[in-house]
């Protein structure tokens, strides 16, 4: 997905001039980053201020990620979805088109990305949070078993 999009963005830019082409570049650009936000979360690509974080144990890191997920990420996705809903629905009801006369006619589709992004991010956020809880739980279980052996 990312591959085709980025390459096309690049190629298209060599032939400037047409508004529709210009807008298609924008569409591609927006699609790439809106769809890739969840993917980047999965790959751990969102930057952190890791002055302290990097020195923590894996369990400590899992704690921070769990709390961050529950307190920040998941509510953010819900709020974004809720805020964007009316905005996108309005766009759909009028089948909104570009404000330029020769522009593309699919603004409502483009805006739909604003709902897809929070949903994918929410799903990935839930997955990450569960993963982190498991890390914490596993470590606790490990400690428990070593305790009984000794």
């Amino acid at each position: 997905m990312g591959l085709t999009c980025a390459v096309v963005v690049m190629r298209y830019y060599l032939q400037t001039g047409s508004i529709a082409l210009q807008e298609s570049v924008n569409y591609l650009h927006a699609s790439v980053f809106m769809l890739a936000i969840a993917y980047t979360l999965q790959r751990g690509g969102h930057v952190r201020v890791d002055i302290f974080y990097r020195n923590l144990s894996p369990v400590g890191q899992a704690w921070i990620d769990t709390l961050g997920g529950l307190l920040f990420l998941l509510p953010l996705c819900v709020v974004m979805f809720w805020l964007n809903w009316d905005y996108v629905i309005n766009s759909w009801t009028v089948k909104e088109t570009s404000s330029e006369s020769s522009g593309l006619a699919w603004v409502y589709l483009l805006k739909t990305l604003m709902l897809i992004m929070p949903v994918t991010l929410l799903l990935q956020g839930i997955a990450e949070t569960i993963k982190n809880i498991l890390i914490i739980a596993n470590r606790a279980a490990d400690n428990g078993s070593t305790d009984t052996q000794s």
């Binding site: 591959l3 980025a6 690049m10 650009h29 790439v32 690509g45 990420l73 009316d86």
Partner: protein
Amino acid sequence: MEYLPLLMFVAICLVLLLGYPVAFSLAGTSLAFALIGLATGHFDAAFLHALPNRIYGTMGNNSLVAVPLFVLMGVMLEKSRIAEDLLHSMSRVFGSVRGGLGLSVVVVGMLLAASTGIVGATVVTMGLMSLPSMLKQGYSPALATGTICATGTLGQIIPPSIALVLLGDILSSAYSQAQLNMGIFTPKTVSIGDLFLGAIIPGLVLVLLYCAYLVFYTRWKPTAAPMADGDGQPIAIGEVVYSLLPPMVLILAVLGSILAGIATPTEAAGVGALGATVLALLRNELTLARLREVVLSTTEVTAMVFMILIGAAVFSLVFRGFGGEEMVESLFAQLPGGVFGATLVVMLIIFLLGFILDFIEITFVVVPIVGPVLLTLGVDPIWLGVMIALNLQTSFLTPPFGFALFYLRGVAPPGVLTSDIYRGVAPFVALQLLLMGVLALWPQLATWLPYTLMR
């Protein structure tokens, strides 16, 4: 309650230090404050309803399309080993000069600086590429690490850098807002291209300062930088041309087309990205697997940058909803020293924030707050942009918290002491401060070129 926005800002800084991804911490903490505000009746939910429009504005912003393209160009140059080749042949060109390897690191850093804007990435790349060979040649660890850190942060200031793209975008909206505040309804504009032009002279001066320092230091203390051993095999001209010319042409094409007014920065970035790909193809370095790797990492960086933009949008809406802007304005009004005092304070704050935040966060969070106020006071937007970029660069270099130092520490062998890095980087910090002082005294250094060319 009056200081709620300030409290929110402090809370966000603290939350960020925990290490949860910046974009989500920013947005999440702001939402929490908005919730408190809603419950206590200090916050109007209408502000949050502006969010969809902000997000859509980001999606449709044509200047920001330059970001993925420049990232792609940088990653391509790095992964296809064009950069490494360049370093090798440069160091052989400078082989007969004392400190030659150091000089070539600076020059290569300058050429590459353009491409990757994320401080960490550049420092890590430069560190992995050049630190081992510098140490092997007997450079003192302090000199080697200092040079690499300083060079790695050049990416902030040498155009076409992503830092300047983002900064230019934010400043241009801050500038039009400032002029509206002043009652000017036919506002002048400032573009990313203007900022690029403004940064060229200060950037080159900085590189010259680095080089001059290296030359003098290695003369004065020859043991810190031994000559390359071996009989210094002379390098064929063809080889130099082969490795040096293509990246040079690429960067000149990108910058030149902006300078000449042929292309917008976004279009130039497209040319750069395509050019880098062609270069990699010509060298047979572009396998399908590598292309995939390049594009995926470009996608990741892009998504990361834009998620921070969205997070920062949530923050700025909530900040505004709490009356943060009025608060900042009245704070500035109370400052002694007028424009100079205000600028100095802003620079100091940005410098300190540079210890905990990367330039993307500072550009998106701090500049929209202070930018309009300073610009209303009559500060030149181009000068301000260049100063902010320089300032952040200095901040990233300053011990004990500078970002660049941490990243280099991460890739340096254990034999290199952290204190070596601190000692090595100190002179470069001094050079940075010197340049900032000069720029503060003679703003023309930044403003002359863009105003001469553009008007």
